[in-house]
Every structure is written in structure tokens, then in C-alpha cells.
Amino acid sequence: MTKVIGVEDAIRKIENGMTIMVGGFIGCGAPGQLLEEVYGKEVKDLTLIANDTGILGDALSQLIVHRCVSKLIATHIGTNKETGRQMSAGELEVNLVPQGTLVEQIRAAGAGLGGILTPTGIGTIVEEGKQKLVINGTEYLLELPIRANVALLNAYKADKAGNLVYRRAARNFNPVMAMAADLVIAQVDHIVEVGDIDPDEVMTPGIFVDYLVQKQPRGVTNLG
């Protein structure tokens, strides 16, 4: 049984109002073609969880520009001015989170943990409203799990059972998000047969991945 489907069938599973996670780091390793379909379909009122909102002009940035997103959880929005503008204008709710905290919160959701204690953010506005615990004399913030309805990922290689392999710095948030969403969709450069990837080479076990979308080759583009 293959998990490969068309991009339209994949993105049709995203409904207005859902929470989506998107892999990538300032475009690198972001699922550009899946995102184009999301804003093309004008999905609305999404809660977006991602490291950033891309560089103005790329696929992820267009989710903001096309006003698909009503709430954002991210670590950095400086590369997409439209995000800052919508935030300042009160049109977009933005929750900025330290990067190491965000990735642990997502991991905690995927790993069935009730939360993690981090020293990051102590003494800053990040600690507002959060429970603090003192362990062996050091203060920590209790940070809670973050999960999503859908995760949109990018991988370099996959077998039809959904086992994923990432390349270089394009790995980033993708493997962690694969564990923390009800539905996981990955766009993939190279889809191979089951058995063609060595068990030790797999970076995301296929059981986490619901659908694979073949990435279409393109001309030179900056769309993630």
C-alpha cells in the first residue's frame, strides 16, 4: 500500500480553523509546494506553528499575506515584514517562543510527555503566566506540549511506506513535527520503493507519515 497522493487531495484534508505545523527554517526545508496549495485554496483561520513565517515572497510568507492565518506560534518573524505589520495592527495573534523551547514543546507532544522544564526564558517576559519550579537550586519554566491537527513537512527521500530521509540543514523541525500531529503530509523530492532505504538511514519512521506528495521539479525559484 502506497502513501503517495496528489497535492490537491492532500491539502483538501486541511479545514478552516485547524492548527497546522510547518517544517523549515527561513525557507530551507519548508514544504513550499504544499504551502502554495494551502494559500491557493484560501484556507482560513489557521493556527500556524512554525519556526518563522518565511521570507516575504516565499510560499510560507504567502500564508500570512493571503490571510490564511489568524494565530501564529513562532520563534522569529523578522524576515517577513507582513507578519509584523499584521501583528502590530492587531490582525494576527502572535506568540513568540524561544526556538529551543518550541522544539521541545513539539517533541513533548509527540513523545507523550506532560511538559518539560527549561531554564530558557527565566527572568524574561517569556516566563509570564508560566509555572516555575526550582530543581536543585535552579529555576526552570514548565513548558507544555504543543501539537497540531496537521503537519506539513519536506523531505529529500521517502519510501512508499513513509520512511523519510532529510538532507543537510533542511532537516530542522521536520522530524519533530512528524511526531506531533494527527495527520502528517510530506512533500518529497525522491520517492522510492519499500526496501530501497536502509533501516539505519531512515530519519523519520514511516509510521508517523500519512501521505507523501511527489515534489515537482521546477525552474529556479525561491519558493522554499
Binding site: C28, A74, P98, T124
Partner: protein, 213 residues
């Protein structure tokens, strides 16, 4: 020295803070330049928090790899012996104390070692990215910045009034005017840039500067 020579001194001075084998994370801007200013024979390992170890020089034109970018989103390379990992591992490395030093810019630093570097309320709110974790997790936090703002405003203060990146984590401040160590007794001016006097540095610094004992 002119401005350019002073900034050059700053970068070279930061580069002297490392020993071979140190794992170092360099922030965007002035800190990035430190990689090219290391003393002869010193080899450090650069971490890029987006997911790899062994950051090399920028690629030659035509050799850019879209999957190999640094934490600023610019094309980069990976040196032999480098390795890639996911963001969870990257911040486990950072938060877990496996980075020997982080070098980053600042909006403000104060005499307690508090650091403000990530937002100016109502004006600039890019987000903290990985900075809060880096500053808390790295064994040594080195601020590399211009001593004052472009308008001559003070950046080394008695107390930061911008939102903090982290409390009491800065160990060293290197500017084009000198090298300042944050100690429990206050700021110690360890070194003065060539051609400047103690009084000139103090005049651009809000808290009292102490001389090394």
C-alpha cells in the same frame, strides 16, 4: 584608528577568546566575521543552530546548495567532519552546555550581565529565535557590538530597560573601544582599544568601569 580599523580590532579581539576545539556559535552581523579572524593555528568548530556542526565559509558562486544555509538563511558550507541534526538535537547541544561560547550582538547589556537583544517594544519585534537558549546554554556568552548606538546613545547600562533576552548570563563584552568582563563586583575594563584612554571608554559607558586588580 578610523572606524573601520576599530571594528576590525573588535573582531580580531573576539577571535582571541577561543582555543582549538572549542564549539562556538556565532550570531549574525559582527559576530559572523570572527570566523575569518582566528589566530594562526586555532581551529574552532562552528555550530549553526538550524541544524549542523562544522560551518564552513560561504560557497563560491554557482556552488550554492539550497539545503545548506546558516541560521541567518544565507548559503553556507559544511566542513569535513561536520554533521547534520534536527532542531531538537541542535538545542539539546545548545541548552545542554555543549557549546563553549556564543558570540552575539546586543541592544543593551548591563553591569549585572543582563542582555537585551531581541525587541524594542512598539518598534521592532522580530522574535528571539534561538538567542534565549544560546545565552542560557552556552558556557560563555560574549557580546560583540558597537559600544554606543549610531546616535551616540549608551548601550552598556546600569540596568537594561528593554525586554531581556536573559538575566545575568553575559560574561564578556567586546566593543570597538575595549574588552569588558562582567564580574560579581561589576564591569572590569580588561583591555582598552589602541589609541583610547580609560576616561574615553568610561564616558561612553553608564556604569562605573573598574580596572583589573
Amino acid at each position: 584608528m578610523d572606524k573601520e580599523a576599530r571594528m576590525d580590532w573588535l573582531v580580531k579581539r573576539v577571535a582571541q577568546e577561543f582555543k582549538s576545539g572549542d564549539v562556538v556559535n556565532l550570531g549574525i552581523g559582527i559576530p559572523t566575521k570572527v570566523a575569518n579572524a582566528l589566530p594562526e593555528g586555532i581551529e574552532i568548530i562552528l555550530q549553526s543552530e538550524n541544524g549542523y556542526m562544522g560551518v564552513g565559509p560561504a560557497p563560491e558562486a554557482g556552488n550554492e546548495d539550497p539545503d545548506t544555509v546558516n541560521a541567518g538563511g544565507q548559503y553556507a558550507t559544511i566542513l569535513p567532519g561536520g554533521c547534520c541534526f534536527d532542531s531538537a538535537t541542535s538545542f539539546a547541544i545548545i541548552r545542554g552546555g555543549h557549546v563553549d561560547a556564543t558570540v552575539l550582538g546586543a541592544l543593551q547589556v548591563d553591569e549585572e550581565g543582563n542582555l537585551a537583544s531581541w525587541m524594542i517594544p512598539g518598534k521592532m519585534v522580530p522574535g528571539m529565535g534561538g538567542a534565549m537558549d544560546l545565552v542560557v546554554g552556552a558556557r560563555r556568552v560574549i557580546v560583540a557590538m558597537e559600544h554606543a548606538t549610531k546616535n551616540g546613545g549608551l548601550k552598556i547600562l546600569k540596568k537594561c530597560d528593554l525586554p531581556l533576552t536573559a538575566a545575568k548570563q553575559v560574561n564578556l563584552i567586546v566593543t570597538e573601544m575595549g574588552v569588558i568582563e562582567v564580574t560579581s563586583k561589576g564591569l572590569v575594563l580588561k583591555e582598552i582599544a589602541p589609541g583610547l584612554t580609560f576616561e574615553e571608554v568610561q564616558a561612553c559607558t553608564e556604569p562605573i568601569l573598574y580596572l583589573p586588580e
